[in-house]
Structure formats: C-alpha cells, structure tokens
C-alpha cells in the first residue's frame, strides 16, 4: 500500500519540556494504524504535532508534501481531520452546527449533503438530536459527534485521540464497530491513539508502541496481538 503519512525524526516539546524524541513512522493509505502506549508516552502529542498544534522539529510528509510548520487550519484544509482528546465539542452550538463546522473547508453543497446523510446512517442518534445543544449530549454521543464532524471534512486521514476514553464498554464497542465500518466503506485512512491496546489492535493493520517519546516497537497488528510475551510485557493484557 502507498504511504499517506510519513514522519521522520519528529521531535516535539511543550515549551521547555521535550516530549517526543525522534519518532519515525508511516501511515499507509486505506488502513488503520495505531499508536499504543501508556499515559504520558507522547501519543496525544504526536497527533498534535501532525496537526501543527505544537512546535516540532523533523519532517512530516502528507501525500508526499511537507506539512510540518503549516498552520493547523491549513493542515485541516489538506485533508487531515483530527478528533482531539476531550472530543473538542462546540458545547454552546447545536449538533447540526457542529456538523456544519466539520464541513467548513468544503464548498460542494451536494457532496456535503450526501456526507451528512452518511454520518446519520452511521450515527442515527445524532439525527435525533440535531437541534440540541451539543454540550448536553452524553460522552458517547459527543464522541460520535466528534467522529461525524471529522468525517464531514471528507478527510484522507483521520486522527483519533483515545476514542474510548471515559466511555462505558458497550458504547466503546459501538464506536469501534462503526470505525470498522467507516474503514470498510470509505477510502479514509485512520491513525488512532489508544490506551486500550486490545481494542485498537483488533481493528488496526499496523501498530507502533510508544514509550516516553520513543517508538520501541512496531509491526503488523496481528503479529503483535498474537505474541503473548510482547503483549504481557508491553501492553499489559
């Protein structure tokens, strides 16, 4: 599969404190790649670096072009949709307005309408709550809204930051099932960051394991899932 995102020697810091120490990884077109690791390993920071939300050194190439150093909104415009940690809901706005904002970069009205119908098919609950203030949605519904909002950008790459965070197991199951469906039915590639390794490995093609800002292991998701020693020592399940 061709490479969609290529990261070479990525360093990242919040002010003085360095968090990423030279990451190399790729996201292949059309697949699911997962970044695993414990709290504080640098997973969220890696996604923020890709979206240009922090200062970085090193190269980030998207579809062959350098995107490091670009403004966050310019990166979004190129087709990278980012579902941030905490879901980034526009609490004060309605569900519908949240979704319309997802399509902010697009001018193809017919295409947006079609994608709108598609996300309602994926997440019927959102359709029932169109005019509701988004801040009143439950955590699971907000996560669905965040993914729907990101899909409306019609991204080539979807960055998901801990979609399972703080949600009941049943809801998590539902969201991951929907993610599998999205991958099956669309051409979007996904880079998902997860603390819950077993969940992420189940839907991923490729996995990277992050420890204190360095990649300590990588491989096909299936191989990692089957390797019991590896699982026990690194992933804790």
């Amino acid at each position: 599969m061709p490479t969609l995102l290529e990261v070479v020697g990525l360093h990242g810091a919040y002010g003085e404190s360095k968090v990423l120490h030279g990451l190399d990884f790729v996201v292949e077109e059309g697949g699911v790649t997962t970044l695993l690791g414990a709290n504080g390993a640098g997973k969220t920071t890696t996604l923020r670096a890709i979206s240009g939300m922090i200062n970085t050194q090193g190269e980030i190439r998207f579809a062959g072009e350098r995107i490091d150093g670009l403004a966050t909104e310019a990166i979004a415009r190129r087709g990278i949709a980012h579902v941030p940690d905490g879901r980034g809901t526009f609490m004060e706005l309605t569900v519908e307005e949240n979704l319309r904002l997802g399509a902010y970069t697009r001018n193809d009205k017919a295409g947006v309408a079609a994608d709108m119908a598609r996300v309602f098919d994926l997440f019927p609950k959102l359709h029932e709550r169109l005019s509701q203030q988004a801040g009143t949605l439950s955590g699971g519904e907000q996560q669905m809204l965040a993914i729907a909002r990101a899909l409306l950008l019609r991204p080539r790459l979807l960055l998901l930051d801990e979609p399972s965070f703080g949600l009941a197991p049943l809801i998590v199951r539902e969201i991951f099932d929907t993610m599998e469906r999205i991958v099956r039915e669309t051409k979007v590639s996904i880079l998902v960051v997860e603390q819950n390794a077993s969940l992420a490995l189940a839907i991923a093609d490729r996995a990277y394991l992050l420890e204190t800002g360095r990649i300590v292991m990588s491989g096909a998701a299936d191989d990692i899932r089957k390797d019991e020693t590896l699982r026990r020592s690194y992933l804790g399940y």
């Binding site: 909104e73 980012h82 609490m91 904002l101 902010y104 949605l137």
Partner: protein, 290 residues
C-alpha cells in the same frame, strides 16, 4: 401621558444606539473575554471622518458608505497589529492597550478636529415630528437604521457559514482550527464588524448629542450598562439590555432623578446587576456534562 409616551419613544431611539454599541462590546467580549474600552472612541473618530467628508461636499449616504467599510478596516487592522501579538499575554496587557487606544483616539481627535462641539447633520430631515408629534424624524430614522443593522448582524451570525465560524472561533478556538477555521482572521473580522457597528452608532447619535471627542464616553457607559443588564455573554440579551437602558435613562431622567443625574443611572444599573444577577437578565448559564 403624552410626555411619558414622548420619553418612551426617544428612549427607544437612544436605546437603539446603546444596543448597537453594546452588541459591538459583546462581540469582542465573546471572542476574547475582554471589554474594548476604546469602542466608543473608535466610533467617535469614525464620525469625525464622516463629518469631514460631508463638509467637503460628499453627500451624507455616500459618506456613510465610505466610513462604515473604512471603520471596518481600521478595526480589523487594530486586531491584527495590536491585539494578535497579545493573544497569550495576561489580561492587563490587553486592558492597557484598550485604554491606550481610548486615549490615542480621543487626543488625536481633539488635536485634529479641536474640542469644540460641532453639529452633525441628520439624513432624515429636520421637518416636523411624526406620528402625532411623538417622534422626531431623526429618532425614527435612526431607530430604523439601528434595527436594520441589528437584524442584519443577527442574520449574519445565524444563517451564514462565516457567521457560524466566527461563533465557533469565539467559543472554541482549538476545535475551530482543527476543522479548518482560520481563527485569527475570524477575530479580525469580529473587530472590523464591531468597529463598523460603532461607526453607524456614532453617526446616528451625533446629531442628538453634537460631535466632540468625548461624545461617546456617556454612550459607552450606557452601552456597557445595557450589555451587563442583558447579559454580557448573550448578544441578543445585550441588545435588549441596550434598549431597556435607553428607556430607563429617558424616563428616569424626566421623572425621577432629573437630566443632570441621568448618567449616574447607568452606574446604578451596573452596580445593581452585578450585585443581584451578575449573569444579567438573559446571560445563559450553559448546561454541560463533564
């Protein structure tokens, strides 16, 4: 009774002007959580530019059509040049800039145009009062202009993509950038709009109070009282608050405290709101699950 109706009507007219300035204050407050103390002086300066054009022979509405976009541009430039570098600075830095702007606009206006009161023309004619003599032509005309401005601004925020993006950028800049909204441009646009609304308010109030560099200081105080009364987090509330303050000011000035003490009612309203209901009448307490 006729006197009361008369006061009520002119209260609505001046209330419309307070409502416009209150809306300008709230727009910037929502986006930055700062109150632009220089909003009134910027409006005053725009009004002087309009007067200069009119005195040079430019027809009123042409001058209007020039001054509003120019004020928009100046407002947007102020955001880009002065406020943007302060985006991450402490609140006091911004407050310092606002007060600096207030002094600069005030002094430069006094320097160029002098401090003498100048009459400002009304585009609505000087003729006899309308509607049984209850409302002057200017009061009626300026109320209509104000309502058109307020409704257009509401429709812009409610129905357009850019309006939605501006609201989003004000509420949640991080998420806005992630969906591709250029947040800094939205802030500049907000400043521009606020300055343009202020310019219109200045041109509408100048025929009543006469033009001088301190013309807007009273208006700004009433507008601030209106914004607080309606709820500084709610644009519609601020507009309603502006109208209410205009009515309270006129009726209170005529029947309760007398015209000399009118301005102190603005301060009284501010204090009462802050003590009794700090969120204002329509300031919504947002519901959110964590």
């Amino acid at each position: 009774m006729d006197g009361l109706i008369h006061q009520l009507v002119s209260g609505i007219a001046s209330g419309g002007i307070y409502a416009s300035v209150a809306l300008a204050l709230v727009m910037i407050y929502q986006a930055t959580h700062h109150v632009n103390f220089a909003q009134g002086e910027m409006a005053m300066f725009s009004t002087y530019i309009a007067l200069t054009l009119i005195q040079a022979g430019v027809p009123y509405w042409v001058a209007f059509a020039i001054v509003v976009p120019v004020s928009f541009g100046v407002g947007a430039l102020i955001q880009r040049i002065l406020m943007e570098p302060l985006a991450k600075a402490p609140v006091l830095a911004s407050v310092g800039v606002f007060i600096g702007l207030l002094l600069v606009f005030n002094s430069v206006a006094g320097w160029i145009f002098t401090y003498t009161l100048k009459p400002f023309p009304t585009p609505f004619g000087e003729g006899k009062p309308l509607l049984n003599g209850f409302v002057s032509r200017h009061d009626l005309g300026s109320t209509v202009v104000t309502l058109v401005v307020l409704i257009s601004i509401w429709a812009f925020f409610r129905f357009t993509k850019v309006g939605l993006a501006m609201r989003a950028a004000a509420f949640n800049p991080v998420s806005s950038r992630l969906v591709g909204v250029p947040v800094n441009k939205m802030l500049a646009l907000g400043w521009g709009l606020a300055a343009a609304i202020g310019a219109i308010a200045g041109m509408m109030v100048a025929p009543i109070v006469f033009l001088d560099p301190n013309m807007m200081s009273g208006v700004l105080l009433y507008a601030f009282a209106g914004a607080l009364l309606g709820g500084i987090t709610n644009p519609l509330g601020a507009v309603i608050g502006g109208f209410l303050v205009g009515i309270i000011e006129n009726i209170g000035g005529a029947y309760i405290v007398g015209t000399e003490l009118k301005l102190s009612m603005a301060l009284f309203i501010i204090v009462v709101v802050l003590v009794v209901k700090p969120a204002g009448l329509f300031g919504k307490t947002l519901v959110s699950r964590v």
